[in-house]
């Protein structure tokens, strides 16, 4: 049976709530309180959903110099997938309470980097699900299977090198899209990081523009028009995404895939990684 590989509608998930071959991942995360999403999961979640913690499951906070949410070790993440009961034949739907940006898209991207294609982000997420009165539960499912096979994983080869990024930008080989809010991109405010501004040459594309007012994704055709203007004739594979820490950036990457613009990449360290070396240039405004 085919399974969407970008965005999945709530109706498709509801129909399979009792289906053990569909794993639901609750990825809710609040930047202001690292355990708020986890505690919210403890109160209620989609029936049977497992919790994916941005800090401990979707990141390895022990790696330094790579931003606030460094990518996890491929072997560790393969074991975490097994803990969630995800194997190569499993369908996965990820959701959060931020339209997919915190941190469902990150989980989606990590699973794809493991070579898993049967994974999608729930359109509208927790907000739309509960607004529609769909079922929730406080169950605590646990069903561990073996580690996810490492055969097709590209996670260890992800783009994390600031020097390579700067060189590719200087050569005009890539289009760097920054998903943060415009005021942060311009350096007018900086609520989290030690320095304000953006990587010189980056273009701003707030991830919120991928979403309609109700928090659902815009139609693929509309997203495609918007990104094609930014691409200005470049192939999608030249696009590199960033944000504050490589989490909301994936929302833009997901939006491009959803729009049929395939092959863009993630610079996971993002702004918080870029500024760990004070010698790296910073731009403001524009």
């Amino acid at each position: 049976m085919s399974f969407p590989d970008t965005v999945i509608a709530a109706a498709q998930v509801v129909a399979r709530l009792d289906d053990p071959t569909l794993v639901l991942l609750d990825c809710r995360y609040d930047l202001a309180d690292a355990n708020a999403g986890w505690q919210a999961y403890g109160r209620s979640h989609l029936p049977g959903a497992r919790y994916a913690h941005l800090d401990t499951d979707l990141s390895d906070l022990g790696r330094s110099g790579l931003g606030r949410h460094p990518l996890p070790d491929p072997d560790v993440f393969a074991a975490i997938c097994g803990r969630w009961g995800i194997g190569p034949e499993t369908d996965v739907a990820c959701y959060d309470a931020a339209g997919g940006a915190l941190a469902a898209a990150r989980a989606w991207w990590l699973l794809r980097a493991c070579g898993h294609r049967r994974v999608a982000v729930l359109d509208g997420g927790w907000t739309a699900w509960t607004a529609a009165g769909l079922p929730v539960s406080d169950d605590r499912p646990l069903r561990r299977i073996g580690d996810y096979p490492r055969g097709a994983s590209t996670l260890g080869a992800a783009c994390e090198d600031a020097g390579a990024l700067a060189a590719a930008l200087a050569a005009g080989d890539i289009l760097l899209l920054d998903a943060r809010a415009t005021a942060r991109f311009r350096g007018e405010v900086e609520p989290i990081d030690a320095r304000a501004g953006h990587v010189p040459g980056a273009r701003n594309r707030p991830y919120t523009e991928n979403l309609a007012a109700d928090g659902a994704f815009l139609a693929p055709s509309g997203l495609r028009r918007q990104f094609e203007i930014l691409l200005d004739g470049r192939p999608p594979s030249q696009v590199v995404h960033m944000c504050g820490s490589g989490v909301t950036a994936v929302h833009n990457l997901l939006a491009m895939e959803h729009a049929g613009l395939h092959g863009s990449r993630l610079y996971a360290p993002s702004w918080s990684g870029w500024i760990t070396d004070p010698a790296r240039p910073v731009a403001r405004g524009g």
Binding site: W38, Q39, G42, T56, D57, A79, G82, R83, L142, R144
Partner: protein, 208 residues
């Protein structure tokens, strides 16, 4: 008991708290519990046996599943153990006695090695974990009223932190980070998980 690896056991024992005398430190989770309770509460002394079974593929820890319907922790995975009775010389004696009563593994097959830090439980027990070597030739005789099964968990598997699922407490306001491990249909969490964590912290770097 195998003696060929006596020095390995001695290395392990040296990483543990001494057997003699209860550790002077209060349980490090007591403060969080007392905050949640709104003040101190009396704690009943208890002891559990953290039995290590040497198998060809590494160390395994002996766990039980408590009978469904028991007042305290029914249906949960735990170490053999229980209240320290007036007749018990100390926590070590209580842990060994309870192991005999619950799973039929007697003192002759159990060699206490040391302890790990005590902990307090929501059910108001002060638990002294006693770590012991268990003869791999042991035979189970389960006390049907208390224990529904016993099984061995490979320590090397328990040591893989990424296999532990963050587990939100069903008790709002109690600020303790819990993790749960699924192993062959058993869920290991709560006090048992915390005791394993204490043991694994002390064995870090050793071949398991």
């Amino acid at each position: 008991m195998p003696d060929a690896t006596a020095s390995a056991w001695s290395d392990l024992a040296q990483r543990l708290l001494p057997l003699a005398g209860d550790p002077a430190l209060p349980p490090d989770n007591l403060e969080a519990l007392e905050r949640w309770w709104g003040g101190p509460r009396p704690l009943r002394p208890a002891a559990v046996l953290v039995g290590l079974v040497p198998r060809p593929d590494g160390l395994r820890v002996l766990l039980t599943r408590r009978q469904e319907g028991l007042t305290h922790h029914g249906g949960q995975v735990s170490f053999p153990g229980g209240r320290i009775d007036a007749g018990d010389a100390d926590a070590v004696a209580a842990a060994v006695r309870e192991t005999q009563e619950e799973i039929g593994v007697g003192a002759g097959q159990v060699r206490p090695l040391g302890r790990v830090e005590p902990l307090a439980t929501v059910s108001q027990y002060l638990v002294q974990p006693v770590v012991a070597l268990v003869d791999p030739a042991y035979r189970l005789r389960l006390c049907a009223g208390e224990v529904s099964c016993a099984f061995e968990l490979p320590l090397a598997l328990a040591a893989r932190r990424e296999l532990w699922q963050p587990y939100p407490l069903p008790r709002p306001g109690l600020e303790v980070e819990l993790r749960a491990l699924e192993f062959e249909g058993h869920t290991i969490w709560g006090a048992t998980a915390m005791i394993l964590e204490r043991l694994l912290a002390r064995l870090r770097g050793m071949p398991l």
